[in-house]
């Protein structure tokens, strides 16, 4: 272990974890509403980033239609993602109502391929390095910290900003769920579709809304990711990092998704502080090892709902 690097890596890990948490939230949302694990969520993230990039007029070929500032481009992409979410629910998932859950999950895998193909046709398969981020890689914040490498922690501004945005978005999301009427309707529907219908909730509308919100937070996550890494089709593989985060926290828990995201970010970053190159290269599997250990101890995840059973 390279101890002077640890404080630096702890901070970086937590900041990275923020975006992972936001992406994990979107997966949990769909799972709660319809018990479907949405394998296409990473592709929604990728598509959101591409749409933002496109609306911001960053097209290399000079054929740009729009030339919006980043915030407006993000808003436009969010609106598109919301419509896309509604369309996915209406035309892909609603016809599948009543089919086995496994069939619906496989449909999301197909949807993922469809989005990937569509994005590569529309935007080209090359990674785009010209995402209009307001930060340059050299913009850093230095925090004095005795004991760290050179007694300072260096953080990229883009990383700090994306963490803050992810934190605000997650907080808004949870407040919405906990305290609004629609949020309550969504939580009730998540528990039991039949009873929700029986008390007068329009269940199909709740599903549509869940997908719209999932589209929105996927896009926000995509923009945050893009400001740090740039835009590429490979962004969709972020689901592979979000997956252990979702399961760690417990599939049905928003708090769990956030904590899970932070744990995953932290564990990946801490491994980077190792002196052993073999260990450093294993950063991608470390969250899965942690996942294995936690699920053995707590099968429902850290914050997962215990099945309430009265005997």
């Amino acid at each position: 272990m390279n101890w002077p690097l640890v404080p630096q890596q702890v901070m970086t890990g937590i900041l990275n974890g923020g975006t992972i948490a936001l992406i994990a939230l979107g997966i949990v949302l769909i799972f709660k509403a319809s018990e479907v694990y949405n394998f296409a969520h990473g592709h929604l993230v990728m598509l959101g980033a591409f749409l933002t990039w496109w609306f911001a007029g960053a097209e290399e070929r000079g054929g740009e239609l729009f030339n919006l500032p980043l915030w407006a481009a993000t808003l436009a992409a969010v609106a598109m993602a919301m419509l896309l979410g509604l369309a996915i629910e209406r035309f892909i998932l609603r016809p599948m109502t009543g089919q086995p859950v496994l069939a619906i999950i496989l449909v999301t895998l197909g949807l993922a391929q469809f989005i990937e193909g569509g994005a590569s046709i529309l935007f080209g398969a090359q990674p785009k390095s010209n995402f209009p981020t307001p930060f340059s890689p050299s913009d850093v914040i230095r925090i004095p910290f005795p004991g760290a490498f050179n007694d300072t922690i260096i953080l990229k501004q883009s990383l700090v900003a994306s963490f803050l945005v992810a934190a605000v978005a997650s907080a808004l999301f949870i407040l919405f769920f906990q305290y609004t009427k629609t949020g309550l309707a969504m939580r009730a529907t998540a528990e039991n579709h039949d009873v929700a219908q029986g008390v007068g909730i329009r269940v199909s509308r709740i599903f549509a809304l869940s997908w719209a919100i999932a589209g929105v937070i996927a896009t926000v996550g995509g923009v945050l990711l893009a400001t740090v890494t740039g835009v590429s089709l490979n962004m969709a593989t972020v689901v592979l990092i979000a997956f252990p985060a979702v399961l760690l926290g417990g599939l049905e828990s928003f708090a769990g998704a956030i904590v899970g995201g932070l744990i995953v970010g932290l564990s990946q970053a801490l491994v980077q502080a190792s002196r052993n190159i073999e260990v450093r290269n294993s950063a991608e599997i470390v969250p899965y090892i942690l996942l294995l250990i936690i699920l053995i101890v707590r099968p429902e995840g850290l914050f997962g709902q215990k099945r309430i059973e009265r005997i």
Binding site: L184, R187, E191, D194, Q197, G200, R202, Q305
Partner: protein
């Protein structure tokens, strides 16, 4: 108020469950629907609430009218919007939500916000009928006792400000004393708020105590109906549902030869 006219219900297009059921609930009344397991009581309720469709059931003949308006083709949430609230069999609470959240789910279809004075007022009304729920309101519903859960289930239906309340076996799985308490409160709710009630029960003794009128169902049809007081005196009811002999004493199983009279009903 509610009129069910000669309905037939078929599950999966082949299984005939109701064979011409007619009943009516007058405004402000408690009407009991009695019968043994499998008689078709719950199916009748599901036909009224529109939840049949989610279970591959269909009303194939007859009609259901609420205040003169046909409701047998409406969606379940549309029927709730017309003022028909239901207390599900076996409570069926949202077990991970708190007591108060469960109560609030009953008003989600209404236009008011969660914190509006009207809704606060309705909550107070529920706590007025069930004072115990006020202390439990932040507790997770799934961990309450059966009786408390039943109170939440009735309270949730009240939050819809219903004109007609459908109660599916509120006595299920409760201790006799609790059943008595719950039924007294149901009677008070009916008397104080004037909501009409259709009460489905196996426990004929308690149901007849609070009902104004009652129907008896067997194998998918109504076999007997009349004012509750009159039914309580009926020899068949006494024997099959109240477990008493004609002299009003508890009888032993040795003397039960109910197949004779039962034959008449099934014919």
């Amino acid at each position: 108020m509610l009129k069910v006219n000669n309905i037939e219900v078929v599950y999966s297009d082949v299984i005939l469950v109701l064979r011409g059921v007619s009943l009516s609930v007058e405004s402000g009344q408690i009407v009991a629907l009695l019968g043994a397991n499998g008689a078709g009581k719950t199916t009748t309720l599901k036909a009224i609430t529109g939840l049949l469709r989610t279970q591959q059931g269909k009303v194939t003949r007859g009609s259901i009218e609420l205040e003169g308006r046909r409701i047998d083709r409406l969606s379940p949430d549309g029927i709730v919007r017309l003022g028909v609230a239901q207390v599900f069999e076996a409570r069926r609470l949202f077990s991970h939500l708190t007591v108060e959240e469960n109560l609030l789910t009953g008003m989600l279809f209404r236009p008011e916000s969660l914190r509006s004075p009207a809704v606060r007022n309705d909550l107070e009304q529920v706590y007025h009928f069930f004072p115990r729920l006020k202390d439990l309101r932040r507790r997770t519903a799934g961990y309450l006792s059966g009786g408390e859960q039943q109170m939440v289930a009735i309270g949730r239906a009240l939050m819809a400000r219903p004109r007609l309340m459908l109660l599916d076996e509120p006595s299920l799985g409760l201790a006799p004393l609790l059943v008595q308490e719950i039924f007294e409160i149901i009677q008070r709710i009916n008397a104080e708020s004037g909501v009409s009630m259709l009460l489905v029960e196996q426990n004929a003794a308690v149901a007849l105590q609070i009902a104004h009128h009652a129907y008896v169902m067997e194998t998918g049809r109504i076999v007997l109906d009349g004012p509750a007081g009159q039914l309580m005196e009926n020899a068949d009811i006494k024997e099959f549902y109240l477990g008493l002999t004609q002299l009003g004493e508890r009888k032993s199983y040795r003397d039960v030869k109910h197949y004779r009279r039962r034959k008449r009903w099934l014919g």
